[in-house]
Each structure stands twice: as structure tokens, then as C-alpha cells.
């Protein structure tokens, strides 16, 4: 059983250090990167498949060379076997469609696996499209909003419980032949109810601890020429999505005007209160 998990680094919004360039693009280089929190569920689903059925888990991401850290984090949490980073200046600033083309090309270069796992939406783009678009490009069946998963490796089928339209109240169970793409819902919970599974997990934890330290030895980086991709179709030039503007919510460029008011200056203070009254609502 071979699984590939698609993961993405996202700016660490928590730190409030997000920076944007003049055109409103995220300046990834200046923003600390962490794994997209929702990808954690995709990684856990892949791990569960590996624990239950053995085989190998590869983690693939597209992004700048600094994404190595993200992949290391992925390796630690999912005990991944190998890591692939699609990284190239030409690939920079790609939208989800261009990303999907690049990822699907990478997956095909690696050899179509049994399962492709993707997380539900990324914390930055929030489009939730990369996974589905990659599957579409690979032309394999896709199950979205998956909360539970079981694989029949003999019959080569996957059965999944999914939320209908992402609604927690309505669930259905669907089946698909392998290879298939699974978009994992944040409601997904892996469970290891047998001692055998727990022992397998412990083995993986032990062997991965060493591997994750020298993760770069298990990391393959491909650029557009490795993938035979035409720069015109990828990266910013190949991105059909046009982002009209980005509202940099986390940290607005601080260009406020400040007026110093001496609290002892009654007149100035009076003016200040008058100005503020407009914002106070009510009275």
C-alpha cells in the first residue's frame, strides 16, 4: 500500500508576523511557515492506513526550499518514509490550479500510489481546491469530507464515511476502487483499537525519530525541468485565478497617524473626546 499525502506550508498566523509585498502577495520568505493545520488530519489518515496495511507513506509539498521544515514536521507526525518537495522559482506564487498541475505531475513521476490524501482547505488560501483539482488532474475517483476510512487491500477498494456537503449531521458511506483520492475532514479521528496496531505505531515512532533528524536525506526536490513542466503553464503566469486584492487581516500595514495629546491640556483632551464620540456608539 503506497500513499501520498499532499501537504502545504502556511504562514504561521499565530505569530502575527505575516508580511505582504506591495502587490498584496504573501511574502512567504519573511513569514514563518508551519504545516497547514488541516493537513494534520490527512497525515493521520495516511498513518492509519500504513499501520493497518503496511506499505509506505510519501509526503509531497510544493513551495520554496524552506518548506523542508514543514516536511520534517510531517515526517515526525506521520512517520513518513520519504518526502518530495516541488520547488522552483517558476513555481512560486502558483494558484491552486497551477499547484494541482504541478502536484499531479509530481505524483505521476513518482508512480500513481494506491491512495492520495489531502487536507481540507488550507489555512491561508482557504479555497479547499488543491486536493480536488489534483485528483481531477490525475483522473482518479475522489471522496471528500472523509471522517472514517477502511481499506480492503485484497479487493482493492476503499470505503469511507463522509459528511454530506460537509454537514456534520448528515453522513453517508461510500466506496471507490483504488487508486483513489481522499480529502480528509477535520472531524477525522484515527483509532487504533488493537494491541497489534498500537505496537506497529510504536515501532514506527521509534524508527522515525531517528529518520526525522536527518530528514533531508529522505527529501527529494524537483524543479519544473525535473517535472517537464512548461513555465508558461505553472507559477504565477499559468495561474488562471486572478486575485483582485488581498485583505491582509492578520497585521494591517501600520500607517496610522498619531497625534500626541497632553492629558493636562484640557482643550486638546476635549477635542479628542469629541472625535472619539463618533466611535463610541450609543450615547
Amino acid at each position: 500500500m503506497h500513499s501520498i499525502v499532499l501537504t502545504k506550508g502556511v504562514p504561521d498566523f499565530r505569530e502575527g508576523q505575516v508580511s505582504f509585498d506591495e502587490d498584496g502577495h504573501l511574502e512567504r520568505g519573511k513569514t514563518p511557515t508551519v504545516m497547514n493545520p488541516n493537513d494534520e488530519h490527512a497525515l493521520q489518515a495516511a498513518l492509519q492506513t500504513k499501520v493497518r496495511h503496511g506499505g509506505r507513506v510519501s509526503v509531497m509539498s510544493m513551495g520554496p526550499p524552506g518548506y523542508g521544515d514543514v516536511l520534517q514536521e510531517a515526517m515526525e507526525s506521520v512517520y513518513a518514509d520519504d518526502l518530495y518537495l516541488l520547488s522552483d522559482r517558476e513555481l512560486a506564487a502558483a494558484d491552486t490550479w497551477a499547484t494541482a498541475i504541478a502536484l499531479s505531475t509530481g505524483i505521476e513521476k513518482l508512480g500513481l500510489p494506491d491512495l492520495v490524501f489531502a487536507g481540507f482547505k488550507t489555512a491561508d488560501g482557504e479555497t479547499g481546491h488543491t486536493g480536488p483539482q489534483t485528483c481531477w488532474a490525475l483522473d482518479i475517483p475522489m471522496i471528500t469530507h472523509v471522517t472514517e476510512l477502511s481499506v480492503d487491500s485484497d479487493e482493492r477498494r476503499v470505503r469511507a464515511r463522509r459528511l454530506v456537503e460537509g454537514d456534520v449531521a448528515e453522513v453517508e458511506t461510500v466506496e471507490a476502487p483504488l487508486p483513489a483520492c481522499i480529502v480528509v475532514d477535520p472531524e477525522f479521528e484515527s483509532d487504533y483499537r488493537t494491541a497489534g496496531e498500537q505496537l506497529a505505531l510504536k515501532d514506527l515512532r521509534e524508527t522515525t525519530a531517528e529518520r526525522a533528524v536527518e530528514y533531508d536525506q529522505h527529501l527529494t526536490t524537483w524543479d519544473h525541468s525535473d517535472l517537464n513542466l512548461d513555465p508558461d503553464y505553472i507559477g504565477l503566469d499559468g495561474s488562471p485565478t486572478i486575485v483582485s486584492s488581498v485583505d491582509p487581516i492578520p497585521k494591517p500595514p501600520a500607517e496610522r497617524e498619531a497625534t500626541m495629546v497632553d492629558p493636562g491640556d484640557e482643550e486638546a483632551m476635549g477635542e479628542l473626546f469629541d472625535e472619539m464620540a463618533a466611535f463610541s456608539g450609543g450615547a
Binding site: G196, L199, K202
Partner: protein
């Protein structure tokens, strides 16, 4: 239905010394062995004094099974051993090194967190080779039965597991032993409560005048503990001291004594404080129930595929002042493993239980745990009238004269040092309190010490402990909240005290219909899982789920 359950050749519940020994023996015999331990880290749940003994006469000691243990996981060899008889501020010391060394190949001070987690790694390596392994954070909650026969275990965290052989090495308050109907937790007189402080001592070598491969054990008895039957200890570790006391639970309950205060009385007494660095720094406060093998060691600790080893079977020997639990757990665990391997070789796996029990008797282990001499003398020696007469005699001028005479010839020290005598000591006031007090009064010298030991309050002690609490899912339920049924726990619980609201048990006054009534209430948040209230209160008592509850860092 249960055919679908996972199956292992052997399942060992608990990774203390008993479980580790059983697992080593089973794995060495090539038996597929699964070990389930409820602590997230092995040792996180365990407390001992602790001197780990390797007896010459025992068929197994821990280093037979884990040869590296002494260099990698114990603290220090104990090379000097005394008992301090205390009366007020006078003390008479006897050297008990001879008793300590009797039948002893070696004896090391240990801290359980360090030792058990080291053992757990070895256990996992060895059992993994057989196709099994050790899992932490899994709590076994009962026995799996099929047509009334025990065939496996059920757990909180994972599905039931079938096994040909089940070793309950789950320590004191073994839920498996209770489920099998082999042990109950009814009688306080069958148990001790051990309470202990691990104390910082960076200058152990200087203070005790010992080298790094030497260690000291001091025992304390006399009038230190308000008449509660029990004894104290102070053992040297690498850079800490283990200071504590072990009390007869019935005596603790009768006196309504507060264990933490009794511990403080020892810590503050100059006979003990002289060994403590100023300022006093406590690393950890801990307590646990200890079975008294003389009364509860099960004569036939097996049923179907289940065997009990160690504390779970009551195999904890209080040989006078010497406490031997870990070593017997090791012996029993290894014998159980050996028995199953032999039974399998003969093609009679179901005979493993009987073979194990045979080995307990043939190896002489049972004779140590339930000494015949004690059983023969007990009806006379423990009669109240006898105690009264002997105590009055001892305290009389004649008794004092006798004590002096015996001491002058060196006989008293020799008697104290006699393994034969120590195995038949009655559980009365006499040996624990009266005799040591009379000895100290008659022969002792005054001790004084400048160190001011100011032990933390109970609240501070609880505050320093690490918990993953069981909010919303308490592991102990109070079945009868009347003061008569459960009031004893308010004082006997080592993390509760009367007039203290931050502990587990408290007495409350409730008013209804114009009358007021005193009742007992329970909050399990500060519980350190010592097991005391399972015996002294009316509860439905279970351990918390895997990984939950207290996490001892020293033990």
C-alpha cells in the same frame, strides 16, 4: 464472537518488577508476550521505599533477568544498616547490618520512575522479538470470560485480548485479582500504608561519610508516630534521600492519624533531620498501600489461565523492619513465566497456574511470605491481653532492668538482628512502639540537631505533583457517604485531612428539613491512587484510565 479478538500467547498486566520479570522469562522462552501498563511512562504510577534485594536463597533476582540493572537503573548499594529506637529526644541505635546482609547477595536503593522506565525499555525490546511488546497508557479493566472461564483481558483503550496465559502483575489493589474473586479489599488489618518524601540531598557522600558505591539505610521506631504502629526509614539515593514510613492501616484508622503529619514528625525529629540539608527541599510526596503477606499472600494465587504475582497476590513481606516486596514480585513473576513455558512444553498450557503455585512453595518463597512461626504464635502473641501484659512488664522496672541486662551482653542487638526473630514479630504495639521506646528511654542518648526542617503543607505538596486529571470521569465513587462508612478516609487518605478543603475526602455538614447531618464528600482530582480508601471507605474503586491521574517523577 470472541474468536475475532486478538490473541497472544501470554499477556502480562503491569510493568513493575513483577511484570518485568514475568515478561523477561516468557520472552526468553520464545513465548509471544504482550505487556500492558497503564502509566504513560512505566514507573509513573509506582512508589516504593525502596530497597531492592537480591536474596541468595531466591531462585531469581532482578539481575539474573536484567544483568545491566545495577549499573544503569538503581541508585546505590546499601552497605550500612541501622535501627534507631526513639523515645522523645533520646535515641538508641542498633546496627542491623547483619540482618540486612542475611541471605542478601546485594541490595540497592532505587527510585521507581527511573528503574521502571529503564526496565520497560528492556521489556519492550525483548518481548517485541517474540511478536508481542509493551504498550504504555493501556489500562486493563477486567477479565474476559468465555463460558465462565477466564480467557483474556478487557481494556479501556483497546479491544479485548485473548491469551493462553494471563499474568496479573498489576500491583496492590489489583482489579484483576478482585475480578477473579481471589482478593478483596475489606480488612484494614491486612494492609500497610507507606508514605514517603523524596528529599534533595546534593551532599549525600559527605553527610553520610560514604563513597559513591556505598549507601546507608536508617530505620526508625519508637514513640515517633503518636502510638501508630509502624516504622520509618531514610535511604540514600544518588543525590536525594527517600524518607518515609510504613504504618499498619488498621492502626492508622483507629488513631485517626494524618499520614502526612506522621511523616512530618519523622522529618522534623533530630534523629532524622540530622541527615537533611538546610534548607529542606522536598522533590516529591508520595504514598501507596502495601499488602501484608503474613495475612494476605494468597495461598493459591491462580484461577483458570490467570496467575497473580507480586503485590497483586499480596506477596509483600514485612520481615520485621525490613520490607521486601519488589524482590518477591520478581521471583514470582519469573516463576510464573517458567511455569507457563514448562506447561506448554508438556502440551498442557492449562496446567501453568498449578505449576506456578507449586514453584512458589518448592522455592521456599511461600514460606517467607507466610512464615509458619508467625502463624503459630499469632493467636497468643496478638491477643490483646498478651500485649497488655507484655507491654506493662516491659515498661515496669523489671522490664527496664531486663532490657539493660540484655543490652549489656549484646543480646538485644543480636535479637534485633535475628532473621528468625524478625519473621515472627507480632503485629502489636509491643515491637513497634513499646519495646523501642523502652530501649531508648533506658539506654538512649539525647540527640539534637540544628537543621530546621519545615515540610511543605499538604496543599503545597499536592500542588507540586503532576496530574492528568479525570475531570468528569472520576475513578472512585463513594457508595456510602455516611461518616460511619467512609469517614475514616478523611484522615487516612494521604492527600486529605480534617479541616483541609483541598484534598480528596472531606467531612461536610448539610442541613435539610431543619436538621443537620455530617456526611463525607469526595473529589478525586488530587488523588494519588494509593488505594487506601478502597479499604477504609465504602467505594466503587478503580484505577483511572491509561495515562490519566497521578504521574510520579521519582517514586
Amino acid at each position: 464472537m470472541s474468536d475475532q479478538y486478538e490473541q497472544y500467547e501470554a499477556v502480562v498486566v503491569g510493568a513493575g518488577p513483577g511484570g518485568a520479570a514475568a515478561a523477561a522469562k516468557l520472552a526468553d522462552e520464545g513465548i509471544e508476550t504482550l505487556v500492558l501498563e497503564r502509566g504513560v511512562k512505566a514507573g509513573a504510577k509506582n512508589v516504593s521505599g525502596g530497597l531492592l534485594y537480591a536474596e541468595d536463597s531466591a531462585p531469581y533476582a532482578i539481575d539474573n533477568l536484567y544483568p545491566q540493572i545495577r549499573t544503569e537503573a538503581t541508585e546505590r548499594p546499601i552497605t550500612e544498616y541501622t535501627i534507631q529506637n526513639v523515645a522523645g529526644s533520646t535515641v538508641k541505635e542498633y546496627d542491623l547490618t547483619r540482618l540486612h546482609e542475611h541471605d542478601t547477595r546485594w541490595s540497592d536503593a532505587v527510585l521507581r520512575r527511573k528503574m521502571d522506565s529503564w526496565l520497560a525499555e528492556r521489556v519492550h525490546e525483548r518481548t517485541r522479538e517474540t511478536g508481542g511488546g509493551l504498550l504504555n497508557g493501556i489500562k486493563v479493566n477486567g477479565l474476559l470470560r468465555e463460558d465462565g472461564e477466564i480467557v483474556g483481558v478487557t481494556c479501556d483503550e483497546i479491544d479485548p485480548i485473548r491469551a493462553e496465559f494471563i499474568v496479573a502483575a498489576d500491583g496492590v489493589n489489583s482489579e484483576l485479582a478482585r475480578d477473579a474473586g481471589l482478593m478483596n479489599w475489606d480488612e484494614p488489618e491486612q494492609w500497610f500504608q507507606g508514605v514517603k518524601a523524596t528529599v534533595e540531598a546534593p551532599n549525600v557522600n559527605d553527610r553520610f561519610d560514604i563513597g559513591p558505591q556505598e549507601g546507608v539505610a536508617h530505620l526508625f521506631s519508637g514513640d515517633l508516630f503518636d502510638g501508630v504502629r509502624g516504622g520509618g526509614f531514610c535511604y540514600t539515593n544518588v543525590d536525594t534521600l527517600s524518607i518515609g514510613a510504613v504504618f499498619h492501616l488498621d492502626s492508622l484508622v483507629e488513631s485517626a492519624a494524618e499520614p502526612h503529619e506522621l511523616l512530618n514528625a519523622l522529618l522534623e525529629h533530630p534523629v532524622c533531620s540530622q541527615w537533611i540539608d538546610d534548607p529542606y527541599r522536598e522533590v516529591e510526596y508520595a504514598a501507596k498501600l502495601v499488602p501484608d503477606s503474613k495475612k494476605v499472600a494468597h495461598p493459591d494465587p491462580q484461577s483458570d489461565r490467570l496467575v497473580l504475582v507480586g503485590d497483586a497476590a499480596g506477596q509483600m513481606q514485612a520481615q520485621g523492619p525490613i520490607i521486601k516486596g519488589m524482590n518477591h514480585a520478581v521471583t514470582a513473576g519469573a516463576l510464573a513465566g517458567e511455569a507457563f513455558a514448562a506447561a506448554k512444553r508438556r502440551g498442557e498450557p492449562s496446567s501453568a497456574g498449578e505449576r506456578y503455585v507449586e514453584r512458589l512453595y518448592e522455592s521456599g518463597t511461600m514460606a517467607k511470605l507466610r512464615p509458619k512461626r508467625y502463624e503459630r504464635l499469632r493467636p497468643i502473641a496478638e491477643r490483646e491481653r498478651t500485649t497488655e501484659v507484655v507491654d506493662r512488664l516491659l515498661e515496669s522496672p523489671i522490664g527496664r532492668f531486663g532490657v539493660r541486662a540484655l543490652d549489656a551482653t549484646g543480646l538485644l542487638e543480636r535479637l534485633y538482628s535475628s532473621p528468625f526473630m524478625s519473621m515472627s514479630i507480632p503485629d502489636t504495639q509491643t515491637p513497634y512502639v513499646t519495646l523501642p521506646t523502652v530501649i531508648a528511654e533506658t539506654l538512649g542518648e539525647t540527640v539534637s540537631d540544628d537543621t530546621v526542617v519545615d515540610p511543605p503543607s499538604l496543599e503545597q505538596r499536592i500542588g507540586e505533583l503532576t496530574y492528568d486529571t479525570d475531570i468528569g470521569n472520576p475513578h472512585i465513587e463513594l457508595l456510602d457517604n455516611s461518616v460511619e462508612a467512609s469517614g475514616a478516609a478523611v484522615t487516612a487518605c494521604p492527600v486529605s485531612a480534617s479541616e483541609f478543603g483541598g484534598g480528596c475526602y472531606r467531612e461536610e455538614t448539610i442541613a435539610s428539613n431543619g436538621t443537620t447531618k455530617n456526611v463525607v464528600s469526595l473529589d478525586t482530582q488530587p488523588c494519588i491512587e494509593c488505594g487506601t480508601c478502597a479499604v477504609v471507605a465504602d467505594t466503587a474503586w478503580e484505577h483511572p484510565s491509561g495515562g490519566r491521574g497521578i504521574e510520579f517523577r521519582q517514586g
